[in-house]
């Protein structure tokens, strides 16, 4: 579903990603772990289409299409979803109505008719239960005055409504207490499907106790230095990143 080949990305002249190769098959859940500053969030934002990031080399293929050529809204309509590390507060724009407009934009792109108000309400009520979200948050402006945990749950709620094909979760676990983490993880687990892939970006192994990944990749200094099964996450939890940093410092082929 997602193929990233030799991806190089710079921000204001600094190279952050230095040749990423990654393939996420349809239906798979991959985790990307790494210390602060390793480039994890940059990767997520590049996939979502944030313009501040300059792709200097490489390509990203999503469902056989060149993802990097698409505007952020086109990517969303094609089925890419990013749960933000820091969801943005948007005063004056209602959480529900905005979501309805977003859903209709996606449906239109897929050749589906606009959803009517009653159907939408039914859908929203059902999806809210997934993340145990309070109904009052529906009628408030997007993320405005939401607690940190409510914002993250709202992201998963948006994801559940929009039903993307590829979901990128950018540190959705950070800052969550254990109860909120379980709720978010349960929401994600319910949405796991044979035709939906996930890229979980996280700093901590803990999330992966609840969402068990098919593959774990370690990102260090803009490169994937190791890939493995779910047990790699446990190894990282035990040893930290230092041993990989040392390994990565060795010249290739030495």
């Amino acid at each position: 579903m997602l193929q990233i080949k030799n991806l190089h990305v710079s921000v204001e002249g600094n190279e952050i990603l230095r040749g990423i190769d990654l393939e996420v098959p349809t239906g798979a859940v991959h985790a990307i772990m790494g210390p602060n500053g390793s480039g994890k969030s940059t990767l997520a934002r590049v996939l979502a289409g944030q313009e501040a990031y300059e792709v200097t080399a490489g390509e990203v293929i999503f469902d056989g299409k060149n993802l990097l050529e698409m505007d952020p809204e086109e990517r969303a309509r094609e089925g890419v979803f990013m749960a933000f590390q820091y969801p943005v507060e948007i005063p004056g724009v209602s959480n529900t109505y905005f979501l309805k407009a977003a859903l209709n934009a996606v449906r239109k792109h897929r050749g589906l008719p606009e959803i009517d108000a009653m159907e939408f309400l039914t859908l929203v009520r059902q999806k809210m239960k997934l993340v145990q979200m309070d109904e009052s948050l529906l009628h408030r402006p997007v993320n405005e005055g939401f607690s940190g945990g409510e914002k993250k749950r709202n992201e998963i709620f948006h994801m559940a409504v929009l039903e993307p094909r590829l979901a990128v979760l950018d540190e959705t676990d950070s800052g969550l207490d254990i109860d909120a983490l379980r709720i978010v993880a349960d929401g994600v687990n319910v949405l796991r499907a044979v035709d939906r892939s996930f890229l979980l970006i996280t700093h901590y192994q803990r999330l992966l106790n609840y969402i068990v990944p098919d593959q774990v990749h370690v990102l260090l200094d803009g490169r994937i230095v190791r890939s493995g099964g779910k047990e790699l996450a446990l190894e990282l939890e035990e040893k930290g990143y230092a041993w990989l940093e040392e390994a990565a410092a060795q010249p290739v082929g030495a």
Partner: protein, 449 residues
């Protein structure tokens, strides 16, 4: 340079001065002597003041030379036929609707619905003839013209407008609409001087909506005086929907008495060159005054809002929120003065001006001013000038909303903060529709709000 400018000013001002005697002769002989005397004082004052220049503090950011150099004429002849279909829906469910065409009441277009007993909604010209006791004690008592040439000009040339008089204890539940429509007939643009007087008795309640609109080039110079009696509740709305070629120089003067609750929402959308002066004198204890505004300007429009709130007595609150959306090469001025008199303790004054610039060439000037002569007060002010939040745009786009719709949605959200405070439903709806129509991808916005 200086000489040329001054000569032109004199020409402009002289034009009005020269017309004054002719104008006086056209007035009904029955006009109360005190009103005529007021006119004479006003024209004298105007002759001394002349049109303002950029060198005057209150006008340094708004150049009125297009008005000073204009060749305006007072409207003549029979009432022209105007199309009211754009404005009519605003007054749906109104208690009364007075329509003024080129400055004079159109009885054909006006409707007096069912007003509670004792409430007067009338043409000021008619009231001056038939019931001067309902006009004279208040007219010109609060809107001062000693330092304001346009108030002076209005006071000298006032002819018609609305008198709304609500007796003590009476509640007018439905809104009263006043519509001012201008359309020039000959080669020269017309000038009108609408003059409104609202007097609300103790413990009364009323909602008033003033709407200004028109076609082509003209100059509207209105003055509205509100004398809000003790404990009265007055909700005032002003919709400035003038044509894009029009000049609009307006003053709204509020004289508030003990424990009253005056609120004003001023929406400025039309006009080429617009100035709204809103002055509130809180002259009794326990007054709660709300002054909100929204201005939308594009192209080369200039919209200036000058606010002056005087806290003269203790225990009063004033809250001002003015928001502006500027596109193209539009310019705005917000000048907000809060003046707290000695002894006006426990004043709670809040003022905020927020501007959203949609283009690189638009300019918003914001000048908050505090003058505080009491020591136990809470006065805050803030002003911002900024662009749409790029993070918010990206967030919306990342959910599938197109870039244009995302921008429109955020712009709408910014403006609707004021629009949704409007309690007169047809007016609020109309403004929402106006925003949808004006914003690119307005249909997506309509769905998302």
């Amino acid at each position: 340079m200086t000489t040329i400018l001054r000569t032109e000013e004199l020409t402009g001002a002289a034009r009005f001065a020269a017309d004054f005697d002719t104008f006086l002769r056209e007035l009904p002989a029955s006009e109360p002597a005190a009103v005529t005397a007021l006119r004479r004082m006003a024209i004298e004052r105007f002759a001394t003041l002349g049109f303002p220049t950029l060198r005057q503090e209150a006008w340094r950011q708004t150049n009125v030379s297009p008005i000073a150099q204009g060749t305006f004429v007072r409207p003549e002849g029979p009432e022209p036929v105007v199309d009211l279909s754009r404005l009519e829906p605003l007054a749906e469910g109104a208690a009364a609707r007075l329509v003024f065409v080129n400055g004079r009441l159109s009885s054909r277009l006006s409707v007096l619905g069912d007003l509670p007993a004792g409430v007067i909604v009338a043409s000021l010209a008619e009231a001056l003839e038939k019931a001067p006791d309902k006009v004279e004690p208040w007219l010109g008592q609060h809107a001062r013209f000693d330092d304001h040439p346009f108030v002076a000009l209005n006071t000298a040339f006032l002819r018609d407008g609305a008198l709304v008089w609500v007796p003590r204890g009476v509640i007018v539940e439905k809104p009263i609409h006043l519509m001012f429509v201008s359309t020039s007939q000959g080669p020269d643009p017309i000038v009108t001087f609408p003059r409104n007087l609202f007097v609300t008795g103790e413990n009364s309640q009323v909602t008033l909506v003033e709407t200004y609109a028109g076609d082509g080039a003209y100059f509207t110079c209105p003055v509205t005086e509100l004398v809000a009696g003790p404990a009265s509740v007055v909700d005032h709305y002003k919709l400035q929907l003038e044509s894009r070629e029009a000049f609009h120089m307006a003053t709204f003067q509020i004289e508030a008495e003990r424990s009253c609750t005056p609120s004003s929402h001023s929406i400025s959308i039309g006009g080429a060159l617009v100035r709204n002066d809103v002055n509130a004198v809180l002259d009794g204890e326990g007054i709660d005054c709300i002054l909100n505004g929204l201005y939308l300007a594009e192209g080369r429009q200039v919209i200036d809002n000058h606010m002056r709130v005087e806290h003269a007595k203790p225990h009063c609150a004033s809250h001002e929120l003015y928001k502006g959306v500027l596109d193209g090469a539009a310019r705005s001025v917000f000048n907000g003065l809060i003046h707290v008199h000695p002894g006006a303790q426990k004043t709670d004054a809040k003022q905020s001006n927020r501007n959203l610039l949609l283009s690189g060439s638009a300019i918003a000037n914001s000048n908050p001013q505090l003058e505080i002569f009491a020591d136990d007060v809470k006065c805050t002010h803030g002003s911002t000038v900024g662009q749409l939040d790029e993070d918010a745009i990206f967030y919306l786009r990342s959910r599938g909303i197109g870039v244009e719709a995302a921008r429109s949605l955020l712009t709408y959200a910014f403006a609707s903060d004021i629009v949704e405070r409007i309690k007169v439903e047809p007016v609020r709806r109309d403004l929402e529709e106006l925003l949808f129509a004006r914003l690119p991808q307005g249909e997506v916005v309509r769905q998302a709000v």
